[in-house]
């Protein structure tokens, strides 16, 4: 880190000061969120890690959903889109979901410290999960049959 060796006559000590400032500032102002490692560990605590990772979409909307407990969110992976509608009922959620393309796939919702709720989508790709606790949540969709099984997972999100 000391061998910055910048041409043009600028003193390297100057660079060091600025780099030290940047380091101090990102530690102070932009620290890694305290629970992030824990959430990653939860997201990874799957029986089988041979998974495809979906992306949450429309994050502007998602930002509003986080923590408020109500709203619609979408996530996608190559050839599958999952839409989730959340309804807050007391301390729990009802989750109405829709898989596109439709199929009778297994759906699991994991909530940290609350275990897993699971169901199977109907022919139209719709599924409902009642009484889902609120908290750090991850959704899994199992596609295909025994011969060609694929599992899609989302990053966790606090719902």
């Amino acid at each position: 880190m000391n061998d910055v060796g910048v041409p043009g006559g600028m003193a390297s000590a100057d660079d060091e000061i600025l780099l030290a400032d940047i380091g101090r500032l990102f530690d102070e102002l932009d620290p890694v969120p305290g629970d992030l490692v824990q959430r990653v560990q939860f997201a990874l605590a799957l029986e089988d890690l041979d998974v495809e990772v979906a992306r949450w979409e429309r994050l502007d909307t998602l930002a509003g959903v986080r923590g408020s407990g109500t709203g619609t969110i979408t996530f996608t992976v190559s050839d599958l889109t999952v839409m989730i509608n959340l309804t807050k009922i007391g301390k729990q959620h009802r989750i109405d979901g829709w898989l596109v393309p439709a199929g009778q796939y297994g759906v699991e919702v994991r909530v940290a410290e609350h275990g897993t709720s699971s169901t199977t989508a109907d022919e139209g790709g719709r599924f409902v999960l009642d009484n889902v606790p609120r908290g750090t949540t991850q959704i899994l969709v199992h596609l295909g049959d025994v011969s060609c099984r694929r599992t899609i997972v989302t990053p966790t999100v606090v719902l």
């Binding site: 990102f26 990653v40 890690l49 990772v53 930002a63």
Partner: protein
């Protein structure tokens, strides 16, 4: 196969640091050792975080991307044979996720001021504290106005200077030695931004 032995025997990476630690953990993780994965996540999440933030993601999106990157790593660990390539893989994958076209990237504005605004500027503070806080705010504003490439390079440079991120230093050396001059230009640009805001440096 791993849970059985954990209670009594130290894991094989116990006492190792830096590149050796990562290599031992990668090896064990490939065999399905969850503790080894957890250790890597503990150690290297800050690296992934800083790359995500440097590439223009706001904090909540960066959190998603950090998880996505780790899930992606462990779902295809077999493909990454060389532990020395781990840092480069994490950096490249995070960058790719951050710039994914599906509206991933938030507006560039929130990143700039979000953090500086959060600084405790209204708290009663001794005079020199206030001066320092003011300079900090200006330095941070200048920093977040740099191109993403510069922000990333400078964040990685800072990490690479810390003992536990030796592998970042190695990853930075990889792109054909152009890092030094580029870093110099980024720092120059930052000084220009600072100067144009009016101030001591």
């Amino acid at each position: 196969m791993t849970d059985v032995q954990t209670a009594e025997v130290d894991p094989p990476w116990e006492g190792l640091t830096g590149a050796e630690l990562h290599a031992a953990c990668m090896h064990a993780a490939r065999e399905g050792d969850r503790q080894a994965m957890a250790r890597l996540v503990d150690e290297l999440t800050p690296l992934v975080w800083h790359v995500a933030r440097a590439n223009g993601l706001d904090r909540s999106v960066a959190e998603d991307v950090v998880q996505t990157v780790w899930l992606a790593l462990f779902s295809q660990l077999g493909k990454l044979r060389d532990p020395k390539a781990l840092a480069a893989w994490l950096i490249t994958t995070t960058r790719r996720e951050a710039t994914h076209p599906h509206g991933r990237r938030m507006q560039p504005v929130p990143l700039s001021d979000e953090v500086a605004e959060a600084m405790p500027s209204t708290q009663p503070a001794p005079e020199d504290e206030a001066v320092r806080a003011d300079r900090d705010r200006r330095v941070w504003r200048a920093f977040v106005r740099l191109p993403h490439r510069c922000q990333e390079l400078l964040r990685l440079t800072v990490l690479a200077g810390r003992a536990e991120y030796q592998l970042v230093a190695e990853a930075l050396r990889m792109p054909r030695g152009s890092v030094g001059p580029t870093r110099g230009r980024c720092l120059d640009q930052m000084r220009d931004l600072l100067a144009s805001e009016g101030g001591s440096r």
